[in-house]
Symmetry: C2
Subunit: 268 residues, 2 copies
């Protein structure tokens, strides 16, 4: 077999690391794939690390010891965050987004892989110093964003259901009061979905009063698990009274202007 | 600013291309980022292309002309497909997966970013020769997989809801007969979610009789749109009569053995 050149190895190592964020990859994976010495691979990795760090694309950490290896930790530059937020504000300010009931239509945004990838990167980079087991979300609209964050953090996604399903096995259901609508709602989670004593973050499309986040804290208690943080794409600040204090959002929806346009401002 | 070395450029170009599958990236993006000549960047791209193709990680296509650029098309080797399918069969054969009603528990699988990324890659590589507008799915379990396929194909995801929601604007709802349960069910899609005359594929966790796929064909007709293909992780072959003929699956669930274990076989 013709040997891989350094350039070729660097391209392939970059791909493998980026496809497996926050997962330790043993150097032997690379030495076997490229039939190259460990010292050669180590030099390759230094080059990849320098390039990615220089462009704020992320960090490469080395874990020493027998089970050692390297892993890619995602990151994003402030200038990229600013560009993303500016563009998202423009998109969300479109007049047609206000639908009857004065809701902000954002289903298309939450299903756009380009937007969700970048939003996931911004949220994941806020939580990637925490030692996490799960990213949790409540069905349906936040699932792609929560999946993207879970993938970037190298942990499992957990989707809380609105109702008990026959395909989920034994479930735990709690009732909670929605903070804005003052309605009683339910959420269910399969016993098989989460190990006891887990650490979680909650990712969703929108936070209004924060009733859902409080409900999740209650539900996680049933699994002896705790919520370490909350991240959303949009913070609805029309109702300034929040039931939760600490959360991270990317943009704010402040209501509707006299011209009938959504008032959207950066949170960051 | 210190110039980027060829090695550094190759790592960064690989990252940018892989983060934007099936999206054309103009060479000027790279010449500006690295302050390098177009001819230099073209040479870099040839190296990245050769490395990715040699490992069956995907292809890089060059689009010539004024709006020209390069794009990454995902691919996966047969050996990687085989390794993935073998491992997935082992996981799905666990006894605890059979839950009351003889359902196969696979919620954890459908929320595992590592499994979903690889499954998405396998399904996307089956459809990446088609000219598509949307990947559609029905809430809830298939959303991460459908999102991953949409991202890899560079198109928008569309999530069909089980019921009409106030945050979706005007919706079209159809009723359909589930092929297995002989029940009447509904599915709804927001008018704002899909342009008329679109080409779609349907991605889901499981296909049983195919009633949902037939329902989607009907719903898409309301948008003057058509279904070009269907891909699922698991084909439930307990009921061999299918309402749809053409679909692609990764593994088959053939029922429960005398020992009470799920019978799972590769589809490919």
């Amino acid at each position: 077999m013709e040997k891989f050149s350094r350039n070729q190895r660097i391209s392939a190592i970059t791909k493998i690391l980026i496809d497996n964020p926050n997962c330790s990859i043993n150097l032997s994976t690379f030495t076997e794939l490229f039939n190259a010495a460990k010292s050669t691979i180590s030099e390759d990795i230094v080059i990849v690390r320098d390039s990615l760090e220089r462009l704020n694309y992320g960090k490469i950490e080395t874990i020493s010891g027998a089970a050692g290896g390297v892993k890619f930790i995602c990151d994003v530059s402030n200038s990229k965050i600013q560009a993303f937020v500016t563009n998202l504000c423009l998109i969300l300010r479109e007049k047609e987004r206000i639908i009857p009931g004065n809701f902000l239509y954002m289903t298309d945004i939450m299903s756009d892989p380009k937007i969700i990838h970048d939003a996931g990167l911004i949220l994941a980079s806020k939580f990637n110093h925490k030692d996490l087991d799960y990213v949790v979300t409540v069905e349906t609209k936040g699932i792609p964003l929560a999946y993207e964050v879970a993938k970037l953090l190298g942990v499992q996604l957990v989707v809380i259901r609105r109702e008990n399903k026959v395909t989920e096995g034994p479930t735990v259901t709690i009732n909670y009061v929605s903070g804005s609508g003052k309605r009683i709602q339910s959420m269910s989670l399969s016993r098989m979905c989460m190990k006891k004593g887990s650490k979680c973050i909650f990712i969703d499309d929108l936070i209004k009063a924060g009733g859902t986040a409080l409900g999740i804290i209650d539900l996680l208690k049933e699994f002896d698990s705790e919520l370490l943080g909350t991240g959303v794409l949009v913070d609805n600040t029309e109702n300034p009274e929040k039931l939760v204090q600490e959360y991270y959002s990317i943009v704010q929806f402040k209501g509707i202007s006299e011209d009938g346009l959504p008032i959207i401002e950066p949170s960051v």
